[in-house]
């Protein structure tokens, strides 16, 4: 049983009441947690304070390269040997305490011993520095505090950009790689408002919702953190390389658990998602179909006791089925509106109404209809009673003023600028 609900550092402003426990019946339909909490992981109660940071550092960086040494395995090593240095000196004997035995582990360990931990650590640091990143261990003072509350926590992080951003109040905005126009529109609006409110927007740099959230946050002048499923020197997906650069330039950061130059395998999404949820005070799932990776982030957030919010979608939309189920199973709080979400997150701010050039009567009618509900030309026709040509023309004008967009689909949505005008523009 996992306790969920709007507790924790946020959600102090009139939260929607959620039950403290999840009924056994619905727990069965919940996506499986990424990583089970386990008191045997060795991190709980283990005192890191007694370790010498500088002395330990090379061993932390090097041990992390051994296959099978993840957060759990590293914790066991610390618990069994007292320090990474001691674990290293134990040699292949230490492999026995790992949670799973990987055949290549002994081979890799032998090779690393041949090179020596200092040389390996230097190599790692140099590779990271080449892409403007550095390694931060759980011993370092700038290890992000939100992750320090995780058990087990990632022993080493590679961070490009402003590491201090990781310590800030952050909210994860995640969702499907194949969003609808509605999903994009919501992601943009939420990330924009968070960015303006000074909240760090955390996501996974994936295509779709993740990308929109990062982009909108940066465009709003906010800071954003991307947690990568691949080494820091290999931005994944490659199409978001320039977005990653803009993120860093805007005071944000790129984070990954994977060391530079590690074998190029499948991107490790599950570990990535756990860190996203861990860094964030709350996670907002914008749009997720069944079996979406975003649901893994959601379940990690629940496991870690963080707040979870989900944006509801139409009940006939496959793209929103995962979100709707999170809400139905009472794992996530339903997002009723973006201002309400900001309130619940404790990030509300005064509304400023921007001014805009006067619209003609027709355009006003169309914008008003759009603000009430997004829709296709056909739906807007039946709501506005305008002929096709006039409607098409008015939409182009609204588009050119940045008040409406279709995201390439048949459905038109009001943009952020339009929503800020309010319903009585």
């Amino acid at each position: 049983m996992i306790g969920v609900g709007p507790h924790g550092p946020v959600g102090n402003a009139d939260p929607v009441e959620a039950p403290a426990t999840v009924a056994a019946g619905s727990a069965g339909r919940r996506p499986a947690p990424v990583m089970r909490l386990s008191s045997a992981s060795g991190w709980n109660g283990f005192e890191l304070d007694g370790l010498d940071v500088e002395r330990e550092r090379p061993f932390w960086l090097t041990l992390g390269l051994v296959p099978g040494v993840g957060p759990v395995g590293f914790g066991r090593l610390l618990a069994r040997f007292g320090s990474a240095e001691a674990a290293w000196k134990a040699g292949e004997e230490a492999l026995a305490v790992l949670p799973r035995s990987v055949p290549e582990a002994a081979v890799v360990l032998r090779r690393l011993r041949g090179t020596g931990p200092e040389a390996v650590a230097r190599q790692m640091s140099r590779a990271a520095a080449q892409v403007g990143a550095r390694a931060i261990t759980a011993l370092d003072p700038d290890y992000p505090p939100p992750l320090a509350r995780l058990d087990p926590r990632p022993p080493v992080l590679y961070v490009a950009g402003e590491a201090a951003t990781l310590a800030g109040f952050g909210v994860a905005v995640v969702g499907t790689r194949r969003p609808s126009g509605y999903g994009r529109s919501c992601a943009i609006e939420i990330a924009d408002e968070l960015g303006r409110a000074g909240v760090v927007v955390i996501s996974g740099l994936a295509l779709g919702i993740d990308g929109e959230a990062h982009r909108a946050a940066v465009a709003a002048g906010g800071r954003s953190v991307a947690v990568l499923p691949a080494p820091i020197d290999r931005i994944y997906p490659p199409r978001h390389r320039s977005l990653a650069r803009r993120l860093v330039a805007g005071g944000g950061a790129l984070v990954t658990e994977l060391a530079p130059g590690q074998p190029v395998g499948r991107p490790d999404f599950a570990r990535r998602n756990r860190i996203i949820a861990g860094l964030a005070a709350a996670t907002v799932v914008v749009e997720a179909p069944d079996r979406s990776g975003a649901l893994l982030t959601a379940s990690a957030a629940v496991d870690q006791g963080r707040d979870l919010y989900a944006v509801p979608g139409p009940i006939d939309a496959a793209a929103s089925r995962g979100c709707n189920r999170l809400i139905a199973d009472q794992l996530a709080t339903l997002v009723t509106s973006v201002p309400a979400l900001l309130q619940q997150l404790g990030a509300a701010r005064g509304v400023q109404r921007p001014t805009i050039k006067v619209l003609s009567e027709t355009e006003g009618i169309v914008l008003y209809a759009l603000l009430r509900r997004s829709g296709s030309i056909e739906e807007l026709m039946s709501r506005t009673r305008l002929p096709t040509g006039a409607l098409a023309s008015a939409l182009t004008l609204l588009e050119s003023r940045g008040l409406a967009t279709s995201y390439g689909g048949a459905t038109f949505h009001p943009t952020l600028a339009a929503r800020r005008l309010g319903p009585h523009a």
Binding site: R178, S180, D316, G389, Y407, G409
Partner: protein, 500 residues
């Protein structure tokens, strides 16, 4: 003895006048045909030999040389048979022709009967262009040949009758000109009244037809893209006489003409399957034949599932979309086929078809969906004028959507009539920077166009194309000038949307 007769050869869809020279000389008996004669022409020897004998003449036991001039032009087909036979008769003094300047265009059967050939309209037209006043064709080609104005067409049944005519004994009576038929009301065509909803798609189709602007519809399976575009023939005004003759020539050359009714008024509507090869789509092959693009000349080329077409085939459409003709380069030189069609395209947004639609989400990998959309290559997208993203109608709200084809066809015809009265071509074919367009643009329209071009980062080509579409929208509205509203509506259909 030397003789000379006239015939014509088909080159693409155009004819070339060919002089058939026959020399009968002493030497080893035989018949040789020179002048880049293809295999069908070489076989003329056997047909001519039998036809002469079976018509009561004889092939002299001499050395006979036939030269088809211009000798460097490759020649195919059987249209020279009659000219060769008559040439042999003249050169061997079996016939003294009264008027050697009659063109002879027909195939011979072994018994001496004249057989119709493909491309008769183009060949007769070539003879007329060369100043020939009389042409003899097979009876089966009479209607086609007589569709060409300005030349006397004399249909004949047999070689014997042709010889009697040429000798001045019995004149072959000329055929009356083939009349231009009245437009027939089309039936069993889909009607716009049967299409559910899709007001934007209807409107775009109306604009496309009224100004001949290339249109693409994109949407999930089953929303009515295909049905909507199949309504186009029922909305298209009939061919004008000169257009009907142009189209008839192409179909005649392709061997696809109804020989008794070579002229039709219905605009072509060609819908090749997406497995079509590049050669079948734009023409080409060892013997150049008009492709679907040329068969759609003055009509509609409908590409259903456009993005499933072979990439090289789609690429080959760029030239006709630009210039209204297909140029086929051969070793012997380039040859041009007319292909001024209206492109109507329909495709799904992604391999599964559901990308970006409400409700049922797409199940494609984003990368493969992207690759799929990229098949609408930039250069091809640049040449489209109108793009509409369609979605299944929600509920059964028809609204004013159930307008039948008859009403829309009336507006389309009226808009085209306005264009004919004002300018030499339809709006889509106005040259870049045409003064007509500039003159019609209001000051507000000009400012709007400039502002939108900056805002939407439109290429200069798109700006020009938008202006033409806006002119058609103004024509449909009966407006004498192009205003901001017309431009904004035209921009609503900009194909750059397909990229998002």
């Amino acid at each position: 003895m030397l003789s000379q007769t006239l015939s014509a050869s088909l080159l693409g869809v155009d004819g070339v006048l060919v002089r058939v020279e026959v020399d009968v000389a002493f030497g080893l008996p035989g018949l040789t045909i020179v002048g880049l004669a293809g295999s069908a022409v070489q076989e003329a020897r056997e047909r001519v030999r039998s036809a002469l004998r079976n018509s009561g003449f004889e092939l002299p036991a001499r050395r006979i040389t036939v030269n088809l001039s211009p000798a460097d032009l490759p020649k195919e087909g059987t249209a020279f048979d009659l000219a060769i036979a008559v040439g042999v008769l003249s050169a061997s003094n079996q016939l003294r022709a009264e008027d050697p300047s009659t063109a002879l265009i027909a195939e011979l059967a072994l018994d001496g009967r004249l057989q119709p050939i493909a491309g008769a309209m183009a060949l007769v037209a070539a003879a007329r262009e060369a100043g020939v006043a009389d042409v003899v064709v097979a009876v089966g080609n009479a209607a086609e040949a007589a569709a060409v104005r300005g030349i006397r067409v004399r249909p004949a049944a047999t070689l014997g009758l042709v010889v009697r005519h040429l000798a001045g004994l019995d004149e072959l009576s000329p055929a009356g000109p083939t009349p231009l038929p009245e437009p027939e009301p089309a039936h069993d065509l889909p009607d716009l009244g049967d299409v559910i909803g899709q007001p934007l798609g209807r409107r775009a189709l109306e604009i496309a037809l009224a100004g001949r602007h290339h249109l693409a519809l994109c949407g999930p399976p089953g929303v009515g893209k295909t049905l909507l575009l199949q309504c186009a023939p029922g909305l298209d005004p009939p061919l004008e006489e000169d257009e009907a003759i142009e189209v008839g020539r192409i179909y005649s050359a392709a061997g696809l003409v109804d020989r008794r009714k070579p002229l039709v008024r219905a605009r072509p509507f060609r819908a090749p399957h997406h497995t079509v090869s590049k050669e079948a789509l734009v023409g080409g092959g060892p013997r150049v034949r008009p492709g679907e693009a040329s068969l759609a000349h003055r009509g509609v080329l409908f590409l259903d599932e456009t993005l499933q077409f072979r990439a090289d085939a789609l690429d080959a459409l760029r030239q006709p979309l630009d210039s209204g003709s297909v140029t086929i380069a051969r070793v012997e030189g380039a040859l041009s086929l007319p292909a001024r069609f209206l492109l109507l395209a329909a495709f799904n947004p992604c391999p599964c078809g559901w990308l970006g639609t409400r409700g049922d989400a797409c199940r494609c990998d984003p990368a493969s969906a992207r690759r799929y959309a990229a098949r609408l290559s930039g250069p091809l997208r640049d040449r489209l004028d109108l793009f509409v993203r369609m979605e299944a109608p929600r509920g059964a709200d028809g609204g004013d959507g159930a307008e039948p084809s008859r009403l829309v066809a009336g507006r389309v015809a009226a808009a085209l009539q306005r264009q004919r009265e004002r300018q030499a071509s339809v709006n889509a074919e106005l040259p870049l920077g045409a003064p007509e367009l500039d003159a019609a643009l209001t000051a507000r329209g000009r400012a709007t166009l400039q502002a939108r071009a900056r805002r939407f980062r439109l290429s200069p080509r798109r700006v020009q194309r938008t202006l033409r579409v806006a002119q058609t929208i103004a024509d449909l509205a009966g407006s004498g000038s192009i205003d901001a509203d017309h431009l904004d509506e035209a921009l609503h259909y900009r194909p750059e949307r397909a990229a998002a």
